[in-house]
């Protein structure tokens, strides 16, 4: 009954808008996590493929993944499109950072004009998405990726799974658009206990690329950093292998009419492009983009023998080697501390045929052509329900194993065999001495303060503070950037954690320092006789006062 109110043309248009909105949403999110600045040009003349009047590039692989996840369906009630952003360290540990959800609820707006108002509001929503993707914590993390971790994305369709985000995750709403068939909502749930992920830590940790090379190849590679920002326009020149969105024959040419009552002449033309045969497997020459590269990553063998990477020759390029250090297994399978205690050893064989190809890296990498020799798995039928399996370990268990090594990181032995002697890095206390969960949980046993203490605290920690009441100049708490509930910091840019750190070691009172103290003491002593004389004069008043207190 709902649909009969909507003309069939409107219904077709609406479905098309929603489909392309979903695809563009995925592009915006993934591109915002590539780790580079995005720039597109305005054009006063409309081109056929700029949906929603916004210049949003279409990375073909991303479109392909999104279409694969959607499988011809559209977001509907109970069927949401989710883009999961996770972080994967060079040791292979991973952690979900964000889930972006495109959902549909039942609240319909029958009056709204599809081809005009809905379209414009979807455009506005995409602009909001552009803005919001830069303000969640994962953005800053993704801008610094490449050295010790990379950012991955995964698209799934169905029920939203937020359990991997840890406790206390926050939600930000990007916006909603009412349509005659339901209300589209776009939101993001993001992890907030990134205790060891604060961007300050990343700035101070030196890159470890050199060590990765040493463990992977015998011959030296050029020392220039492989993590160049990816110019994905170059990728287009090389020819994307996946059918680009233009090839799908859905080109949108919008014209709007201002003649009352705001009729919209909305033409969708079929564009005829040459479609290269869509090649979906991993065994192809993938284009230069970092995202496509991850296809290779996900099915490569985890091993430090270059030959075993299965990519052969000299032009395999540095990025592949780095990526080889990442576990190719499905990231969710790594998270086993909840089951066994401690972190399971990194398997030396990757799981071929796992859902690894569901995850794509967002790392922009240098352009290198190569071909994969390892056959890929066929598409998996991983369902959303798997995503939370094995995640019973608290986030802290994962976090403590991150960044605990600089040397020998890619020696292929289980984490718990790494000796303490090798740990000359911050947060050394977090290195697991054994696989006991609780002992290593920093929330249970707070460690000594690492070298990287609050800079503000350092400045307040003057020489004379040995007399300070705490006596202990270290943070008693792990340095977490948290936002306590109901804290208001409008006047000063300070939250509770900063306030605590700032004032927990106040500078020594000047009166207690020797020089000034001695001076004022002398003055005090000099003025004492005078003061006593005054008090003696007024002794009657004082007595009367004391009487009133009886």
């Amino acid at each position: 009954a709902m649909d009969t109110d909507l003309s069939s043309q409107d219904r077709k248009d609406l479905d098309k808008f929603i489909k392309f909105f979903a695809l563009k949403t995925v592009q915006v999110i993934v591109q915002a996590r590539l780790g580079e600045k995005i720039c597109t040009r305005s054009s006063s003349s409309p081109t056929g493929s700029d949906w929603f009047n916004l210049a949003i590039k279409d990375i073909p692989e991303v479109t392909h993944e999104a279409k694969k996840a959607l499988a011809g369906q559209l977001p509907a009630v109970g069927r949401s499109m989710c883009v999961e952003i996770s972080l994967k360290t060079s040791e292979g540990d991973s952690m979900e950072l964000e889930i972006w959800c495109l959902e549909m609820n039942e609240k319909c707006d029958k009056e709204i004009k599809v081809s005009y108002t809905v379209y414009n509001r979807l455009s506005l929503l995409l602009k909001s998405l552009l803005a919001i993707t830069r303000v969640t914590p994962a953005y800053r993390l993704s801008r610094k990726q490449g050295h010790e971790y990379v950012i991955l994305y995964r698209i799934y369709f169905g029920e939203v799974q937020l359990s991997g985000l840890g406790e206390g995750f926050q939600t930000v709403r990007v916006g909603t658009v009412g349509t005659p068939v339901g209300t589209i909502t776009l939101s993001c749930a993001y992890r907030i206990n990134l205790a060891f992920m604060s961007t300050r830590q990343f700035e101070r940790t030196p890159p470890i690329m050199g060590i990765i090379i040493d463990h992977f190849v015998d011959r030296p590679y050029p020392s220039s950093s492989p993590m160049h920002p990816c110019n994905y326009r170059a990728g287009e020149d090389n020819g994307a292998v996946y059918p680009s969105v233009e090839d799908s024959q859905e080109v949108c040419t919008t014209s709007f009419s201002t003649s009352p009552p705001s009729q919209c002449v909305f033409t969708v033309t079929k564009a005829h492009f040459q479609t290269p045969p869509p090649v979906v497997t991993d065994t192809l020459k993938v284009p230069v983009m970092g995202l496509a590269f991850s296809h290779q990553l996900s099915s490569s063998r985890l091993s430090y023998q270059p030959a075993a990477l299965g990519v052969g020759s000299a032009d395999m390029g540095y990025p592949v080697l780095f990526a080889g250090g990442l576990n190719a297994a499905h990231p969710h399978q790594l998270i086993g501390p909840g089951k066994e205690g401690g972190v399971p050893p990194v398997p030396s064989q990757p799981a071929h045929g796992t859902q690894a190809d569901q995850d794509r890296m967002c790392t922009p990498l240098d352009g290198v052509h190569y071909s994969a020799a390892t056959p890929s798995s066929s598409e998996d039928t991983e369902t959303v329900s798997n995503s939370s399996e094995g995640k019973c370990g608290s986030p802290h268990d994962l976090l403590e194993t991150i960044f605990i090594r600089k040397v020998g990181a890619f020696v292929n032995k289980p984490i718990n065999q790494v000796t303490m002697a090798n740990l000359d890095i911050p947060f050394a206390m977090f290195a697991p001495k054994n696989v006991e969960l609780e002992d290593n949980d920093p929330m249970v046993n707070p460690p000594e303060s690492p070298e990287t203490e609050s800079p503000l605290q350092g400045s307040l920690h003057s020489e004379g503070s040995s007399g300070s009441s705490t006596g202990n100049t270290h943070d008693d708490f792990v340095m977490i950037d948290f936002k306590p509930a109901f804290s208001k910091d409008d006047i000063l840019p300070m939250d509770l954690g900063t306030f605590y750190r700032e004032f927990q070691n106040p500078p020594q009172l000047s009166s207690l320092s020797i020089d000034i103290g001695a001076q004022s003491m002398a003055e005090d002593l000099d003025s004492l006789p005078e003061k006593l004389a005054v008090h003696e004069k007024n002794v009657k008043e004082f007595d009367a006062f004391v009487e009133t207190l009886q």
Binding site: T40, R41, N53, R134, S255, P493
Partner: protein, 233 residues
């Protein structure tokens, strides 16, 4: 921090509600420009369209708006702005003047910058056109002075986090889908949009600012209106 109210327009035009939003930030002196640009660009991103191209029979097509990331130098923050150098220049000019006025006003460092979207209503000669505001954004700025480098480092991060909240607030307002001027016919387009830029088309807007003196009264030391329409009536 975000308060919303409706205010009647100052002119004696037919009553139309102008919604007003207020944002407040506390920043260090050298962060003023970037913080203001971040907020203004985010608002204008949502309030700009592609260029309209009118065709016969009253239809029009819309150009494409590009976007780009901007990293701040003095704040741990990045934002997205419309790819239009003209628009960026106009905003930088206004924000630069605001910053100079703040600096020269004395040590108090309080002021506000306003971004007003308006429509023009043509009047018959000899009356001049009326400007009817339909949305007013006010950003109140409090400049703090910091003593040392460690405090500045903390401030970089804290202001960055604050700006993230402001962006979320702005997006919330935009998402309410409240009044927007009707899409104009070709003859009316300059009453609704600023058509002077070559690559994008923001709604007609004005930027003005006020500096608050130490007594807390609002002293308009410089009231500058940057009127973006090209008409020189």
């Amino acid at each position: 921090p975000l308060s919303s109210r409706c205010c009647a327009p100052s002119s004696a035009a037919p009553a139309m509600n102008c919604r007003a939003e207020v944002l407040e930030v506390s920043v260090e002196g050298r962060q003023v420009e970037e913080a203001m640009l971040a907020v203004l660009h985010t608002i204008l991103l949502h309030r700009s369209t592609g260029k309209f191209h009118y065709k016969k029979e009253g239809t029009y097509s819309i150009g494409t708006v590009g976007t780009q990331d901007v990293d701040c130098d003095f704040i741990d923050f990045a934002y997205v702005r419309v790819s239009s150098e003209e628009l960026d220049r106009a905003l930088r000019k206004a924000v630069g003047e605001f910053k100079d006025a703040l600096r020269s006003s004395g040590s108090d460092g309080m002021g506000q910058i306003s971004l007003e979207f308006y429509q023009k209503k043509k009047s018959r000669w000899p009356f001049s056109d009326e400007c009817i505001p339909w949305e007013l954004w006010t950003i109140k700025v409090n400049v703090v002075n910091l003593a040392n480098e460690q405090e500045r480092q903390i401030c970089r991060e804290k202001v960055g986090e604050k700006l993230c909240e402001k962006i979320i607030n702005i997006v919330e307002v935009m998402n309410r889908h409240e009044y927007l001027p009707k899409m104009p016919t070709q003859s009316e387009v300059d009453n609704v949009f600023d058509t002077s830029l070559k690559d994008v088309q923001p709604y007609l807007y004005k930027i003005s600012y006020q500096i608050t003196d130490s007594l807390g009264t609002s002293v308009t030391t410089t009231m500058r209106r940057l009127i973006k329409d090209t008409l020189a009536l």
